[in-house]
Symmetry: C3
Subunit: 190 residues, 3 copies
């Protein structure tokens, strides 16, 4: 059973993946990627062949896949960095990434981390991503997603009664961002 | 009993009523207006004679009226568009429109839609509304209400484990907004 | 047992303490300061000697101290203004001030008040506060804290099914802000 789980979510385009990999290396935690686990289950059942297809499955199937993924995570040994989304958002559609019922299935969560970036940096990074489908992404949309994500994480923090850390990954200051999260880790994973 | 309920909330001044009427016509869903049902119950009990008076009733009575309205909605046949507020807000006072306890009374909710507009459009439309009482409405206030409404909808989405759609009704682009919601309806009402 | 409890939270730097003292004087309510009660319990157990030290205790101990404080508040006679935080935030770390489990321990809550200020006023006031540790506080950070606090209060409002009031304390208009809250009090404490 997982000793301690730190849930890490992030604004798309804020650099979450890079940060989690480096954090896991430094803090000797395992990484559990909810999206990858969900894709595995989706493939096994013939629901979807890639991540994009998972994203557009009906809400009920997404919830089912997520419940299975979280259950597997509880069984992982040691400390776990749970790489997930506060909400799975695409084109103004937000599926809760940590809904109340599946949230209750996660044991030993010690904290939540949200990796954000300033609006201009997010827009800039997304513009360079050839996989993004949403057009004309602007200030309103980035702010909309920030509010939804912060709300979803506040709900999780309030229900689990654990701290929420919001870390800003400013352009060109990745190391500063990683160190800031690392400093918090003594509270979260010891 | 309602087959599927889609909850539709909106920022006041975002054009919700117009959009819901057109959506109901195209998708052949019934409309249930929580405010109208609450007013009916309020009139029957002599609590209030019009909508504005309902808004200023004590919080406890508002909750009671809402519970009765939601219970009636569960009994409606077919697919239902539930026209409601994420929060009933006036002059900085927000009554939760979908509080946890009444939320649990709603059966078969398949999704939530929030109709928003950009801040300048909202201020412009409210300025033209002779019924609005709040003076000097500004950026701060519109943003305050947006955060509260998006939080309230995130709570509902997280508890019901259903998707939340945020649709922007940009000035002069009503048809685009309606089509965007309509496209989502195959997921929500079939 | 407390007859009615009004929970008052505020953005740090929005002038909450001054406002609560004046409100208590005018409305003849007692003040219960969750932070002070938590500090008393922390001192009695040798956990911390001052407020700053409480803030940096492990999340689990903070939760325990809060539960004890809230339990004492339920025993207070008459109407109570509960002076607390929506989230205890410092350097991007937010501990829920009203988490779901302790929220359920509070009886007779009749409403929530959030005292906010416009971003520039908050930055200006915090700059003058020699106790603030967070450097380079800027628009992003004030907005981040506003979203978290409003989300946390929306969660409390939705769970307790009570109204949330957001009051803006504009620079140089303190009396206006206090009067605005006072007007609401007939609904909340009678």
């Amino acid at each position: 059973m997982a000793e301690r789980i730190v849930i890490i979510a992030g604004s798309p385009g804020a650099g979450k993946s890079t940060i989690i990999k480096e954090l896991a290396r430094r803090s000797k935690c395992s990484i559990a990627n909810v999206g990858s686990l969900m894709l595995e289950h989706a493939k096994a059942r013939g629901y979807a062949a890639d991540r994009d297809a998972v994203r557009y499955l009906p809400g009920k199937i997404i919830s089912e896949l997520r419940a299975q993924a979280l259950s597997a995570i509880n069984q992982m040994p040691g400390n776990v960095l749970l790489d997930t989304h506060a909400s799975v958002g695409e084109n103004g559609r937000y599926i809760p990434g940590l809904p109340i019922d599946t949230l209750k299935e996660l044991k030993n969560v010690s904290g939540l981390v949200y990796i954000d970036a300033v609006t201009e940096d997010i827009i800039e990074r997304r513009r360079k991503d050839p996989h993004r489908k949403r057009e004309n992404e602007d200030d309103y949309m980035v702010n909309e997603q920030r509010i939804i994500n912060m709300s979803m994480l506040s709900i999780a923090s309030s229900h689990l009664n654990v701290p929420l850390f919001i870390v800003l990954n400013r352009q060109g200051r990745l190391e500063e961002c990683i160190s800031e999260i690392e400093k918090r880790f003594s509270e979260l994973v010891i």
